[in-house]
């Protein structure tokens, strides 16, 4: 059993990955997944509707699942199904609680109080769980229907908050602007494909197609002051006004350019394409197709829906085959959620590796190593897919920097574990891999993470060199800090840190600090060269530049202190943990200042997380300062004292 365990772990992990990568299946008769794969142009990029649905849900409510707390079954089976309801059956989607509101002042403004926020669970087990805190006890997501009476209030408050500079806004102002932006976003979704509020938009369009000639003639006659059919004028004006509303209320470009248009990026909103009916004399085929989807969806005609999707795709494939292929791949990627799978594997690997220090070091250590390897490979595939979809180097924004820091640190851990085989690498890999993916998950809540690069940043060469190298420097500094953390906690609280491990850890930390110095320095310098190329100054004392410089100096301090004999083994560990603080400041803290060219990822909730992290690291540095006589590992064997002079030199 012990011998087989690593193999079983490897096979289990692979099976788990394969299961996650299987294509999504439709829960009902409708080809919802097929609809989700249809490409649209949004935020400057062609992406599948599935991505639109997922990033919308993340932005509106911080998760992809649509459900109410008191019912365990989700309200829709997938984000795409939610989007279908929003676009085609808004009267139903408007009752889904998809607007997350947490600010107490804003909740009060919306008529919420302790009583009506309380979740009334029906089962007594759930009641108990909610009291203990395992289940939420208060509502925090609300439906459009609940918010509708307060729309004017929200709009008025947003108008007041808007002129305030973003850095100076208080929590209420940020919350109200966020809610307002979310309501707008929802409106844009509702108007993206068909006119909301029309029960049979397809019928409207077909009728327009039939009566177009007479209608246009009637309008012309009216304009010329001649006798005309007033009913025809009214009908055609009404539908024209609806198209205008649609065109102006959305930013999603869902209608592909016609084959006569040379520019392949000239996608249009559905409303704009429909308005062209009056010039072209025929209703745009793609807009008609979307109206067809709506008809089939509303009237529960699955076969018609699926048939239409097939037809629409065939039409698209003539001109947009590569885009269609990319859209399909992206939808698959979304459904596979490789980073969530990796996260789970990292967590299991971490636990196995920690247990390997207590028992079965060989079997558990190897199992942990294999799990880390599989998780790392999977996130490699994930990052590579993102790079291919975006056509960019791996790091383009805060979200992808989190993915990459985790990836780089875990790779270093795998190397360390391969050399030392003492499970230290796997513990560090599991923890860092899990933590960075968790951070990435929280960073993804702002919406689509595959963003377009602003002009200044639009340089694959510099993104590929400066950003990648400096991010590798971050990863290495974090890793050194984490290894030091293992040293301190194991040495102080357990007896498991023997001399061999302690020395090995010291060499690991020292080696990784050297690596971190090289990469953070080179990366910072490359950034300087980029700045010189784009703004004419090598160094501008911008917060993010300063942050990177602080990491370089901190690593230099560690190395010089060691060389000068100012610190020994324990001091090295304390300083390396300090590297965690410096790096977290550079990574997140500088963005919270809201100034400078690099402040691309202002995050509010992250502020407290950062404070808590820094405090915890300071506490651990404090622990490192505990006299050696009190360290359980060293007290037991006395190696600490013998090891120290060896390092003093």
């Amino acid at each position: 059993m012990k011998k087989l365990l690593p193999l079983l772990a490897l096979l289990g992990a692979i099976g788990f990955v394969i299961k996650a990568l299987l294509p999504p299946r439709n829960p009902g008769a409708f080809d919802v997944a097929g609809f989700g794969r249809l490409p649209v142009l949004a935020n400057g990029r062609i992406k599948p509707l599935d991505t639109v649905a997922r990033s919308s849900l993340l932005q509106l409510q911080g998760r992809q699942r649509v459900s109410t707390p008191d019912v365990s079954e989700p309200l829709v089976a997938s984000p795409t199904e939610w989007l279908l309801e929003v676009c085609f059956r808004p009267e139903k989607a408007d009752t889904f609680p998809t607007f997350a509101i947490d600010n107490p002042d804003l909740l009060t403004l919306l008529g919420k109080n302790e009583e009506n926020l309380k979740i009334a669970y029906t089962s007594s087990a759930k009641k108990v769980l909610s009291v203990v805190g395992f289940l939420p006890s208060r509502h925090r997501r609300f439906s459009l229907q609940e918010l509708t009476p307060y729309v004017n209030t929200i709009q008025e408050q947003a108008r007041l908050a808007d002129p305030v500079e973003p850095v100076l806004r208080n929590a209420f102002q940020r919350a109200v602007l966020q809610l307002f932006a979310n309501l707008l976003h929802y409106q844009r979704l509702r108007h993206a494909l068909v006119m909301p509020g029309r029960t049979d938009f397809l019928g409207d369009l077909l009728q327009l197609q039939d009566n177009l000639a007479t209608g246009v003639a009637a309008v012309r006659a009216k304009q010329a002051g001649q006798p005309h059919d007033e009913a025809a004028v009214t009908a055609i004006t009404e539908i024209g006004q609806r198209f205008v509303v649609m065109a102006e209320s959305t930013s999603f470009l869902v209608i592909p350019p016609e084959s006569t248009t040379a520019d392949p990026t000239a996608w249009k909103p559905a409303g704009a394409a429909l308005l062209e009916t009056f010039q072209n004399g025929r209703v745009n085929a793609s807009a008609l197709a979307y109206a067809g989807f709506a008809h089939a969806w509303r009237n529960d005609k699955a076969e018609q829906f699926n048939h239409l999707i097939g037809l629409f795709r065939t039409g698209l494939a003539k001109r947009f085959a590569p885009e269609l292929a990319k859209s399909d791949a992206e939808a698959r990627f979304n459904a596979a959620e490789p980073f969530y799978t990796s996260m789970t594997l990292y967590a299991i690997a971490f636990l196995l590796a920690v247990f390997s220090w207590l028992t079965w070091p060989e079997a558990l250590g190897k199992s942990a190593f294999w799990l880390v390897a599989v998780a790392w490979l999977l996130s490699t595939v994930g990052i590579a897919t993102r790079m291919w979809l975006e056509g960019r180097p791996p790091v383009t924004n805060l979200y992808s920097s989190a993915l990459f820091i985790g990836w780089g640190a875990v790779l270093l851990c795998l190397v360390l574990e391969y050399i030392y085989r003492n499970a230290v690498g796997s513990v560090a890999a599991g923890a860092i891999g899990f933590a960075t993916l968790l951070i990435a998950h929280h960073l993804s809540l702002t919406g689509d993470t595959l963003e377009m690069m602003r002009a200044v940043l639009d340089s694959n060469f510099w993104l590929g060199t400066h950003v990648v190298v400096v991010t590798t420097g971050y990863a290495a500094t974090f890793l050194a800090g984490f290894l030091a953390l293992i040293y301190i906690l194991r040495g102080l609280f357990t007896t498991s840190l023997d001399k061999a491990t302690a020395d090995a850890l010291t060499r690991m930390v020292y080696g990784i600090v050297c690596f971190a110095t090289l990469f953070s320095f080179t990366g910072t310098v490359l950034g300087g060269i980029w700045a010189d190329q784009s703004w004419g100054r090598f160094w501008g004392w911008d917060p993010k530049e300063n942050g990177a410089l602080l990491i370089v100096i901190w690593n230099a301090i560690i190395l010089h202190s060691r060389w000068g004999g100012l610190i020994k083994q324990r001091g090295l560990m304390g300083l390396a943990v300090g590297g965690n603080i410096v790096t977290s400041w550079s990574w997140f803290g500088t963005n919270m200042l809201g100034v400078g060219l690099h402040s691309y990822g202002f995050t509010d909730a992250a502020f407290w997380a950062l404070i808590i992290f820094v405090a915890s690291q300071l506490a651990i540095i404090g622990l490192a300062a505990v006299p050696l006589a009190r360290w359980r590992s060293f007290r037991a064997s006395g190696i600490g004292r013998t090891a120290e002079p060896a390092m003093a030199r």
């Binding site: 377009m452 080179t522 160094w539 000068g564």
Partner: protein
Amino acid sequence: MNLVVRQFRDFFVSLKLTVTLLVLSMVLIFAATLDQVNLGIWAVQEKYFRAFFVLWRVGDIPVPVFPGGYFIGGLLLINLVSAHVYRFTLAWRKAGIFLTHVGLITLLIGELLTGLWQEEFSMRLTEGDAKNYSESYRGNELAFVDKSNAEFDEVVAIPEALLARGETVQHPKLPFRVVTKTYYPNSTLRMRAPAPAGAAGVAAEPASPATSGIGPRVSATPLPLTYNQNERNLPAAFVELIGPEGSLGTWLVSTGLPTPQRIDHGGRTWTIALRFERAYKPFALTLLKFRHDRYAGTEIPKNFSSRIKLATPDGRDDREVLIYMNNPLRYAGLTFYQASFEPGNDKVTILQVVRNPSWLLPYIACTLMTLGLLVQFGIHLKGFVGKRRAPNLSAPSAGSAFQPPPSG
């Protein structure tokens, strides 16, 4: 050796000093980063980095509270150089450290020279217009332009600092003295309400100190200085011009006024204007075409580029150049960068013009340092791998492969 001298030497070559200075520099940089929220990036550089001491004002007295960039950088330089002179030995295993530190010395000197020599200006070009000057981001000047000669304009520019000090300026080319009566470093201008003809009960505004030009009809109100990177201080001043026969009048000048004002005196004509400080060039740039591409269906800028004609009066240079993001024009010791654009006006480009004679130093420094670090850590790695491959693998922890070499 004299004990004092030896102590002195030991202090300057010690690694303790290095580490202390590095720690101090971290504190300085961190404080400067935080203070950017209040002061903006320019003021922070002056206060923290281009100073020997960071000064806090207690009342009116500046009190040094922390060593500044010059102090720490200078000591670090001395520490580095003296340590290398003192400990210098020619050995391969020290090559990495040596290269790294020579690079660092170059970098520190480069940053010092940049601080001393670098000038930054901006150039706003409208399509079709030729321009032979750039404008300062922060400095202003009071310019008198003699329009009497049809062939050329003669410009006398008085730096803002002289106005701020309230000094009387007598320039040989001007037949009058310039006396600054009031100076506001930042201000806002407003048209005065037309004088209410006999309307009683309305509190009349105090009369403007200005007597000539547009001044009497405009009121200037002082504002606190702004440190916002996206805003610019708009100074205003009331200046009296006094000729040999007495006062010509008092003018309100401000960078907030759109056009220069006219002065007629002794049969000659000048214009007077407080304007952004100009740096004239021996060549002219003409914007042929500005492009500002956005991603489809968004306002996210994708690319900016300016097609520009570069011409010298002597005709030796007359060619087209294309300036775009990450691709500046380097000409006549100046570098022109695509810096910005005017929202809503795609016929205007804004270039940044930089003169930095020491611009190559950081490149050299960084090459040296990166090489040095690679050599240094390469030596470590080689030693580490060599030790692990060595036959005595049975005792992997005994070796000191990662033991650093003697410090340098």
